[in-house]
Amino acid sequence: MTEGKDGIVRQEDGRCHITKEQFCDWLAGEMPPDKEAEFLEHVGNCTFCAHQFAGWMEAPPDLPVSQTKTVQEISMNQTGLLNPPRYLKEEIMQRRQRTGVQMSVQVREKSRQMRLFMYSLKVGMAVMTSIFLLLLTADVQNLQPQTVREWRTDQMQQKQEADGQEEWVSIADTLNQKSGEISGFLCDISNGLFRMGLDETE
């Protein structure tokens, strides 16, 4: 947020926040209807301006006498806020207890819980998919064509015969063996987690 030379506070995206002068114009009823709609829409969408607006409503900035038009507005400017009718609070408390309002609250509450459930379900599905893919990869590594295996065995036997003593193991086979071990280990962990989950639900 930056304050320009014209005194208007601007947001990072270039949009302007409301100014005290605009508020005074609005309070005095001197704002054109299209500007007023724009002004109020901004207050309705911007938390910063809504806070400013509320503060100015509570303690209005000084207005020129010519700008205070009406009896109510004069009293509003002097005391800050208007006093609502005495019965209003009671009516709000009564309306709040009506079935329609309570049902609406419950539906919102349920939909919030439902959203949470759906989110948990998505996370669970993602974990399951990743574990499944991991297991599948481990199986693919074991699914080598028979001929290749036989050829490798022959190669190894020939090499052993040539070298005479040491067992020769290729890098690919080492990787294959290790990844198999890791996937087995992960599989055990996931099975353990599933079992724990099942125990908790029981």
């Binding site: 309705g44 938390t47 409503m57 038009k69 209003l88 709040r96 919030r112």
Partner: protein, 183 residues
């Protein structure tokens, strides 16, 4: 099945929300009413908008950010007011043949109309223009600011009867206000 702890937690949560709502109502009732009055220009619509605002607050308490409560309350009130202004504009959209006539009428005495609308006497005058028994009930309720319960006990009427009469009186008043706004 819900355990006792969960039920207890829910009950505590509900009580907390009710208390918090009462606090919000106590703290921001004047602010919301003032915003609504400024936007509607009369007590009757300001009351309705204030009620709408607080009911909306009540319904959305679960997602409410307490850190910015004043701004949040103000935003809801402003948006309700904007909706009101838009629907009022739609209702009072002038027809072609009456457009220039209305323009002329509007220029006649806007300051006087404003003064009249915003004063307490305006409420009294409007209430007096209703037929009996709505006139009496409306005067007691809207002008003298008595609750339906108080009116019922003073007039020996059933509270439901008084509530119905207030409701109908309000509908009649709204028609009168809209009629004056269009004329």
């Amino acid at each position: 099945m819900e355990s006792k702890d969960q039920t207890g937690e829910k009950e505590a949560d509900r009580i907390d929300k009710e208390e918090y709502f009462s606090y919000l109502l106590d703290t921001y009732e004047r602010l919301v009413y003032s915003i609504c009055f400024k936007m509607t220009g009369n007590q009757f619509d300001a009351e309705d908008l204030t009620q709408e605002t607080f009911l909306s607050i009540y319904k959305n308490l679960a997602t409410f950010e307490q850190e910015y409560e004043k701004a949040w309350v103000c935003r809801i009130a402003t948006n309700k007011g904007l909706d009101f202004l838009k629907s009022a504009k739609r209702r009072s959209e002038p027809k072609e043949d009456t457009y220039f006539e209305e323009l002329k009428d509007q220029k006649a005495s806007p300051e006087e109309a404003y003064l009249q609308q915003e004063s307490k006497e305006y409420v009294y005058t409007i209430c007096q223009s209703l037929k009996s028994p709505y006139k009496e009930v409306a005067t007691e309720h809207f002008y003298r600011e008595k609750t339906a319960k108080e009116i019922a006990s003073e007039t020996d009427k059933g509270i439901k009867t008084v509530q119905t009469q207030i409701y109908r009186a309000k509908a009649m008043i709204r028609k009168i206000i809209e009629g004056r706004a269009i004329r």
